[in-house]
């Protein structure tokens, strides 16, 4: 199996970055082997990258559903299991039950969204990673994972498209 190498190029401009990505595609680098690190959220259109498409936020809906089930169990289940009859009032009334159901459903939705973000991004991440703090200095980092045979081609493309610096980064604790 050919040995892999990771290279990082630092750019100062989003146009140069997108042209570098186009150049890397031309020499055969796959999308999944390219990553961009930025301190400002440039969109996938600006960088000419494929959009991460997600039709329905499933985790958000799952969280809301969990909240709904918990709320129904609390408002209806507990009253039926341990009924305290108060004269003239229904044991469980729909209008009053709707309020805790609504609140816990929304809480589930929010927690589901938060946990989904943690899961999708792999947070929290404590192991050493490839990273360059220069992204906090208006730089955009392009990280390329490629065969060692193509190292020179990748370096050439990055430098030709305006990279300030191209180097082999080390995994570092963040």
């Amino acid at each position: 199996m050919p040995k892999k190498i990771t290279l990082m190029g630092l750019f100062t401009d989003v146009l140069m970055t997108s042209e570098a990505l186009d150049g890397l595609r031309l020499i055969g680098v796959r999308e999944e082997d390219m990553s961009v690190m930025e301190g400002v959220p440039y969109t996938s259109k600006m960088l000419h990258r494929p959009h991460i498409h997600e039709r329905i936020p499933w985790a958000t809906l799952l969280g809301a559903l969990t909240g709904l089930v918990v709320a129904v169990l609390l408002t209806y289940g507990t009253q039926w299991l341990y009924p305290i009859r108060v004269g003239g009032r229904p044991l469980t009334a729909i209008p009053t039950s709707l309020i805790p159901i609504y609140e816990l459903t929304m809480l589930g939705l929010v927690l589901g969204t938060f946990l989904n973000l943690l899961w999708k991004c792999g947070f929290p991440s404590t192991k050493p990673q490839y990273y360059d703090p220069m992204i906090n200095h208006s730089r955009i980092a392009v990280m390329v994972n490629c065969d060692m045979r193509y190292e020179n081609d990748v370096r050439r493309v990055l430098l030709d498209k305006g990279a300030e610096r191209v180097y082999e980064p080390e995994r570092r604790p963040l």
């Binding site: 969109t43 609390l74 309020i99 609140e103 929010v110 989904n116 990673q129």
Partner: protein, 477 residues
């Protein structure tokens, strides 16, 4: 003919070009310079800061916790609450803090949903106000219990007495609503903070580096990280708005669901929500003016932001007055004898000074001043007006809660209410607690979302149309 046409142009004012540098989003500076403006006051605190922290901590210890433990030891009788006024300063202050908590959600979530670009530098400072005011307000149901150690009765778990929460009670709804709002707003303030915490991680050493490293969760600024973060923030912005509306509606139902005269009003839900946003946005202005001055954040927090918020305050003053008059007129027109006793209590009785002060601060002052651009652009004037509004809104809660309880359908059961030292002390103690939490947070949490400001500057540009240059805002997504 020539002299006539010339005279028509005598009083005309030629429009002058606004200086684009006055606007934050048209005044970009290097990212690292922005980071340093943000980090410098966080990393260096002068002796004045520590003196204030010590003073506030002392007030919290003595006025809040000291008097609270004193009350636990000697009983709720040392407070001023007696029949028929079972809810006094504690509950009024609770409602006040829950109202202030609407500041962050309104400024951050609603303005984000409506793409109001001026929200960018002020969202986090406002959201932190939400978290800390909820923390302060959330103390009061426990304080008001008296026997605070039985607060666990509110948790639905099996026990030998077969006690369960009554989920048909507004007080149980309150517990759920405030818990939901506190957790949601904490997550909502934390998520957009992650990139700024990562920036702080890269610029600090020692205990701060460890803290920011843990809090930033390993953020590296990869495309998919930004994508999922944006998605989560958008979902939360939409979700937290109905939560915000529901919280203060449920708090208002603590009163509206009762049979008490003056409380039983179907207008209470929206009346309280509008009042909450009114006091919340006013509090944001007051707090941000202090933050700007003490932390030298003049680059980020500009006159344009305060002017925009002041316009919102004026609109909400109109809205609050509408709901107030609605509530008042229905009671006045209804003709019920005890209802008129309440109105007389406010207009001519012991509540009169508070009532007129409330109307003065909430209606007269904003309506006479905030229409004027010079006033909206004056920090001192805005600070005083917004402080006055918060005083007025506190008085509104004081009138509605202990004020209205002084009258009911049984004249033998009428009473008067005078808050006592423990109540006043505990209420002031929570003000000190809010200030202390905010002071401490300002030295640990980056108050300005630098990445959001950068994103805004990316989308703003100037272009020529005809003889003038106008600001153009691009849609980035």
């Amino acid at each position: 003919m020539l002299s006539e046409s010339t005279s028509k142009f005598k009083n005309l004012i030629w429009p002058h070009e606004d200086d684009p540098k006055e606007r934050l989003l048209l005044d970009p500076i290097p990212q690292e310079e922005m980071n340093q403006i943000m980090l410098k006051p966080m990393l260096k605190a002068g002796p004045g800061y520590w003196l204030l922290v010590a003073l506030l901590a002392a007030i919290v210890l003595v006025c809040l916790f000291g008097y609270w433990f004193y009350m636990v030891r000697w009983g709720m009788g040392i407070a001023g609450i007696r029949r028929p006024v079972g809810w006094g300063v504690f509950i009024a202050t609770f409602v006040f803090w829950i109202g202030i908590s609407h500041s962050g959600t309104f400024v951050s979530a609603i303005l984000r949903v409506f793409n109001a670009e001026y929200r960018r530098p002020i969202t986090r400072a406002a959201e932190l106000m939400t978290t800390f005011s909820l923390a302060c307000g959330g103390l009061f149901p426990i304080i008001h219990l008296g026997r605070a150690w039985v607060v666990y009765y509110m948790i639905p778990m099996p026990n030998q007495r077969g006690l369960w929460d009554n989920f048909q009670s507004p007080l149980a709804w309150d517990l759920l609503a405030i818990t939901t709002y506190l957790l949601s707003s904490t997550i909502y303030v934390y998520l957009p903070m992650i990139p700024d915490l990562a920036m702080a991680r890269d610029h600090t050493t020692g205990w701060r580096h460890v803290l920011y490293k843990l809090a930033s969760l390993g953020w590296r600024g990869l495309e998919y990280e930004w994508h999922y973060l944006h998605k989560a923030i958008n979902i939360l912005a939409f979700a937290i708005i109905p939560i915000m509306f529901s919280v203060h509606t449920i708090v208002s139902w603590d009163f509206a669901m009762a049979q008490q005269i003056g409380w039983r009003s179907s207008i209470f839900g929206p009346y309280f929500v509008v009042g909450a946003i009114f006091s919340g946005v006013s509090a944001v202005i007051a707090v941000l003016l202090v933050v700007r001055k003490t932390m030298n954040l003049q680059y980020f927090l500009r006159t344009e932001h305060f002017e925009a918020l002041a316009k919102l305050v004026l609109i909400f003053s109109f809205s609050w007055a509408y709901f107030f008059f609605n509530d008042y007129l229905v009671e006045w027109y209804g003709g019920e004898w005890v209802g008129h006793q309440l109105l007389t209590l406010q207009a001519r009785g012991p509540l009169a000074p508070f009532w007129y002060a409330m109307l003065f601060f909430n209606i007269v002052v904003p309506w006479l001043t905030l229409w004027n651009k010079k006033v909206r652009r004056s920090p001192m004037a805005l600070f005083l007006i917004t402080l006055g509004i918060n005083v007025g809104m506190y008085l509104e809660r004081f009138i509605i809660i202990p004020g209205f309880l002084q009258r009911n359908r049984l004249p033998f059961d009428w009473g008067t209410y005078s808050p006592r030292l423990p109540e006043i002390s505990i209420a002031l103690g929570t003000l000190a607690l809010f200030s202390l939490l905010y002071l401490l947070a300002s030295r640990v949490i980056p108050l300005i979302p630098v990445w959001e400001v950068l994103e805004g500057q990316l989308s703003h540009s100037r272009r020529r149309i005809g003889k003038t240059v106008v600001t153009s805002i691009a849609e980035l997504e």
